[in-house]
């Protein structure tokens, strides 16, 4: 069997295109995924046009709030590209230079200030997007919604803080600055204390009325003490308490590495094994080989071994390339090898079944793409994004192919935060046996037709 494996590697070496692809493919994927991952955290470019006059302030109760520095807040989350006017913003969006444009109109602060008047306006910001690309459009919509929610929250908090200050002034007293003047406010607490102090000096018939005023001052202070935290809560009435009750997920970039590695392993292994087995027939060597030189089982085992060996090298090459972009835990290399070997065996067994069924190299290549691509994409559909019935169908369908368990095994091997590796490895072992049996049955008519 080892000589047959040696022969397959010789043939592989003699096929410059295949050999080059086996080297170039993982490097290319590693570079592309690496850039995608490292570029993923970059902020999207957004054109920013701020027409609001620099000295405008949001006014609460006749008092201007400190400058909110809207631009600084927004530009922390997106890469702001300053534009001079709306026309330039439109041009940049249309050309694709920026993902979107955010225009803060000149009357924005006036409209916000009008909210506390008898004639409230509707504050609006303008977002310019290019809807040519639905995915990009959806992304912009999500980003803008998130930004808007954050802006509303920040404004509400600022108003709440200012409101609390006024409440504090009413209860505890202090100085109110109004129209450049400082007005002393006595406050309910001090008022009650003063009234309590003067009570003994009053005639008895007035004392009961004064006591009512003192009680009112104390009740007012106590209730306003409660109102402060209440106003603060109003700024963000609902908080999210995220509790993970099932599963565990590794960082997104590790998952992306696992996807890239599994994709590469799947394509290299399935195409190589299926093609190599079909080549035995195209070269008319299969009957000669199986006429006493090697059994069908041994031939299948050799092909699976070829797929695992080449897949292992290519996947490790890919992971080494991705290490440039994403730090990987090389201390887990033992688990990587386990995952790659089991995944490679599962995928190679599936490749052998395809190769035995299709029997011609060209048909095999086409079939491998037709099967692998949709299975790979379906394996990436997360729960909850489609109806439960559809997801259940997808889950069962993808469980019949080795891609999903291979992805789970790779994810588990790459990061300790990933799922357990045991289940996927057992799943892959079962698939190796199942596809081995299918390939063995398909080989029965391999030589005859």
């Amino acid at each position: 069997m080892r000589w047959l494996l040696f022969k397959d590697l010789q043939i592989l070496r003699r096929s410059p295109l295949q050999a080059a692809l086996l080297v170039v493919w993982p490097i290319l994927i590693a570079v592309l995924v690496g850039f995608a991952i490292s570029g993923g955290s970059e902020r999207p470019r957004v054109a920013f046009l701020n027409e609001v006059p620099a000295d405008s302030r949001i006014d609460v109760g006749g008092q201007g709030l400190p400058a909110a520095n809207v631009k600084a807040r927004i530009c922390r989350r997106v890469e702001c590209v300053e534009v001079g006017d709306r026309g330039e913003a439109v041009e940049k969006v249309e050309s694709g230079d920026v993902l979107a444009a955010l225009v803060l109109p000149a009357d924005l602060v006036d409209k916000i200030n009008s909210l506390s008047t008898l004639n409230p306006g509707t504050p609006k910001v303008e977002v310019l997007v290019n809807e040519d690309d639905p995915v990009k459009s959806e992304l912009v919509k999500d980003r803008i919604n998130a930004l808007l929610a954050q802006a509303n929250l920040a404004t509400a908090r600022r108003i709440a803080v200012e409101g609390s200050k006024y409440l504090s002034l009413l209860t505890d007293g202090g100085n109110l600055r109004l129209l450049g003047q400082s007005i002393p406010i006595l406050g309910l607490r001090a008022s009650a204390q003063i009234l309590a102090a003067v009570e003994p000096a009053l005639p008895p018939q007035l004392r009961s009325s004064l006591q009512q005023v003192i009680r009112f001052a104390n009740q007012g202070r106590e209730n306003l003490d409660v109102a402060g935290p209440l106003i603060n809560r109003l700024a963000q009435p609902i908080v999210v308490d995220r509790v993970a009750v099932g599963g565990s997920s590794p960082p997104l970039e590790i998952f992306a590495v696992a996807v890239a590695a599994t994709f590469t392993l799947a394509f290299v292994t399935i195409l190589l094994v299926a093609g190599s087995l079909a080549l035995e027939r195209e070269e008319n060597a299969f009957p000669r080989l199986t006429r006493g030189l090697i059994s069908n089982q041994a031939l299948l085992a050799e092909k699976v071994g070829l797929g695992v060996a080449v897949g292992l090298v290519v996947t490790l090459l890919l992971l080494a390339g991705l290490e440039i972009f994403v730090p990987l835990d090389w201390g887990r290399v033992g688990l990587w090898l386990l995952a790659i070997i089991f995944s490679g065996a599962g995928l190679a067994a599936a490749g052998a079944a395809l190769g035995a069924a299709a029997r011609e190299v060209r048909a095999v290549s086409l079939l491998a793409f037709m099967v692998t691509l949709p299975v790979a994409f379906l394996s990436l559909v997360p729960a909850g994004t489609v109806g439960s019935g559809v997801y259940e169908a997808i889950r069962i369908f993808t469980a019949l192919f080795p891609f999903k368990p291979a992805l789970q095994a790779m994810t588990a091997a790459l990061d300790s935060a990933g799922p357990s590796i045991g289940g996927p490895l057992i799943h892959l072992a079962v698939l190796v046996l199942a596809y081995g049996v299918i390939a063995r049955l398909a080989l029965r008519r391999f030589a005859a037709v």
Partner: protein, 234 residues
């Protein structure tokens, strides 16, 4: 080698109908007949590639070498690499020596490092036969070995095969070229629609043709043979 009462069916169709046949050491036997006569089926059963539905095959212990119609070689490997691979798979103690021996036998020593795909059809067939000989068989089965070869390549091929028979190897080959069978076959087995119509030497076949299709007896042998088959209902 002996085959007795061989029957092979593909669904309802009988590809071989109780064919019995034998060959002695050093004999060169041609299995002839029109397309679909059952020649390849018979050879593949003798080679052990497919099993008969009925009947028995008695093959020598030293084994049977089989050379398929199309070269069963790895075209991206060199001549020597192909021979070395099969010598190793055959379990030869000194595979390199076996390669040298086969290169000597085929006369392709100078082309040992050439990729098989770049060889002519005739040379590919010689390597194909050499691989079949690596098991050092007492019987060599050749399925239409001269198909696609030009006359010069064909002549060299038959010179090579005749040499093998002279050295004691039993050679059984199939062909639909009646003149080739007459020229190189010491015995001819005529198959038509899975039935063995004739088993004897070329002279006896001419006699049989003359007696059963006298109207074509004076024509060339191929025409007379076709008339004979027609006369026998094929």
């Amino acid at each position: 080698m002996r085959a007795t009462g061989i029957v092979k069916r593909y669904g309802d169709r009988e590809a071989l109908r109780s064919v019995s046949f034998g060959a002695e050491a050093g004999e060169l036997v041609a299995v002839i007949g029109p397309n679909g006569a059952g020649k390849t089926t018979l050879l593949s059963i003798l080679a052990g590639i497919s099993k008969p539905d009925e009947g028995e095959v008695d093959a020598p212990d030293a084994g049977v070498g089989w050379v398929p119609q199309q070269a069963a070689l790895y075209r991206r490997l060199t001549v020597a690499e192909n021979l070395l691979l099969f010598a190793r798979l055959e379990g030869h103690e000194d595979p390199q020596a076996s390669v040298a021996e086969m290169l000597e036998l085929t006369g392709l020593g100078e082309r040992r490092d050439e990729i098989v795909a770049r060889l002519s059809g005739g040379n590919q067939q010689r390597i194909n036969i050499a691989v079949g000989l690596l098991s050092r068989p007492r019987v060599l089965l050749l399925d239409e070995p001269s198909v696609g070869l030009d006359p010069r390549q064909r002549a060299r091929l038959w010179e090579f095969v005749s040499g093998l028979a002279e050295r004691g190897t039993t050679v059984i080959f199939s062909t639909h070229d009646i003149q080739e069978a007459e020229r190189y076959g010491r015995r001819l087995l005529v198959l038509a629609d899975g039935e063995a119509l004739f088993d004897g030497d070329a002279g006896a076949l001419r006699e049989a043709v003359r007696s059963e299709a006298p109207e074509a007896a004076d024509r060339d042998f191929e025409t007379a043979f076709v008339a004979y088959l027609h006369h026998r209902g094929h």
